[in-house]
Symmetry: C2
Subunit: 311 residues, 2 copies
């Protein structure tokens, strides 16, 4: 095994992911756990990080670069926000060093959009973006990062012009577990991304987004009147929320650019299926790979550069 050069950490609200990286950005080892910000705020951020690096027998002075909720006000140390429009590289310059640990630890800031009518924030996704847009491009790029709070970003030539958050994942969770729809979805099995109910719901919400909260209720009525199965009901719920999100994100665009979909696993499959069904062109980028590339870019700028290169 080559010598580790740094630790790359994606520290979310409820998840912790760490990669041990060498100087060429090869992954030497990986750790995943549920010790997100919520847990670590109680057990100690430094303790969680040290325990995982210790388990990998990493040197005690190995530096770490961190993104995500560890930089929130309730996190390890507040890393603030870079206000957009801004070049994405401002995220690197805005990293905050944690005071205390013997090892060098830097946390990347999030992005904030301070429009009066469309305030928005992200924390963690800016690092995925750093990986996904790393090559840079002169034409406008539209990036979709689905999740609990899906983020849609527009960027041109490495400058983020704006972004919007959609509560898609959280609403799926709330409605499927705690609303009247829970009765209809209770026994759902995993549904296929090309399930007709999912796709027709995507289409209906995309075409008539104003009906969104009515389309949601038809899931309940469908199970009462039309013997809609629990698995189809789950597909309809997911499709309605994803279709509504896409309607909001691409509606304003006259010429919809290629959508750069930064996702992985089941979520990637669902969005790919939805985009295909709506005839929207997209390019998939693995979300784990993107966040690692973003952290790597930050590590080279902040931790590994020659002193004169460091900002």
């Amino acid at each position: 095994m080559t010598k580790p050069a740094y630790a790359a950490v994606d520290w979310g609200t409820s998840s912790f992911r760490l990669w041990l990286m060498d100087a060429e950005d090869t992954v030497l080892a990986e750790r995943r756990s549920g010790e997100g910000m919520t847990v670590a705020a109680k057990t100690g951020f430094e303790e969680v990080l040290s325990a995982h690096l210790g388990a990998l027998a990493a040197p005690l002075d190995l530096p770490a670069i961190v993104c995500g909720m560890a930089g929130a006000r309730q996190g390890w140390i507040e890393a603030g926000y870079i206000t957009v429009p801004a070049p994405l590289t401002a995220v690197l310059a805005g990293a905050v060093r944690v005071v205390g640990p013997t090892r060098e630890v830097h946390i990347l800031p999030g992005l904030a959009q301070r429009h009066a009518d469309a305030p928005d924030v992200m924390r963690g996704e800016e690092t995925q973006l750093l990986g996904a847009l790393r090559q840079g491009a002169d034409s406008q790029q539209l990036v979709c990062m689905p999740g609990t709070h899906s983020k849609w970003v527009t960027a041109t030539g490495g400058v983020v012009s704006g972004f919007s958050t959609y509560m898609t994942g959280e609403m799926f969770d709330l409605l499927s577990k705690h609303s009247v729809l829970a009765h209809s979805i209770l026994d759902a099995k995993t549904f296929d991304p090309d399930q007709p109910g999912f796709l027709s719901a995507v289409q209906a919400a995309f075409q008539t987004p104003q009906r969104a909260s009515n389309l949601l209720f038809t899931i309940r009525s469908g199970s009462l009147l039309q013997d809609l199965s629990a698995t189809d009901a789950a597909g309809r719920l997911s499709g309605t929320l994803i279709g509504l999100e896409i309607a909001g994100a691409v509606n304003a665009a006259v010429d919809i650019p290629l959508i750069r979909l930064v996702a992985s696993g089941k979520l990637q499959e669902l969005y790919e299926s939805a985009f295909s069904h709506l005839s929207l062109a997209f390019k998939a980028i693995d979300a784990d790979e993107a966040v690692r590339q973003g952290l790597a870019a930050a590590a080279h700028k902040i931790l590994l550069a020659m002193p004169e290169e460091r900002s």
Copy 2:
């Protein structure tokens, strides 16, 4: 006190309301409790009804007319659904008599819309409608009945042509208590129906309903970036969901008819304020009065008519 002629009961999922009525439909006494279907399914429907009527010293053989969830499959006895399009009077003909109690008890059926793309159901609101539309009218009427699950109904000459349910009230409850927005709303006080945040949210969701799940997240971002107060956040959440509902309900209409708003209390004030802000003409009808009038119409047809008039 004149002699009671019948009991009128609105029996919802979580609430029970009973009015003791004379033959001229004057309210002699009223009872309200939390013994809705959920509670009564455990403690016994007959027991709950008898206890309330006993407390009013009503005769043991006083007949009762009931609407609402007591007629659901999980209720006292299943009263089924009348399929629309249908004349509203079909609800009276479709009443189901409960077998067992010594007193005569009839439960009114709900309405079902069996469209493949827009299945829908109501139970209880059809009786409000019976009261609100009682006079009949030849032109098309648009009725809005806000609540946990808001119902919008179109009817012409006493015939219900269709209806749509919006999950507005339930989504407000879920999002304000259990989502990331709960942090922003936790300490909210009652907001005014003419609060600027409420009205601007109504407007934004009405004009750009496709942004709905993004507009919801701006409540969180607004409290992080713009010091949005908890009370303003609650107003924004309510306004976004009500604006989305109105967008869905009136969007299809070319000439929006006068909206008959069947509501009471705070909800009535909010919808009146929203309609005024959107320059939509409306007429308010008290929801309690409407359900009582509907139950009275049913009582006269089913319980009090001369034998030859009874269907």
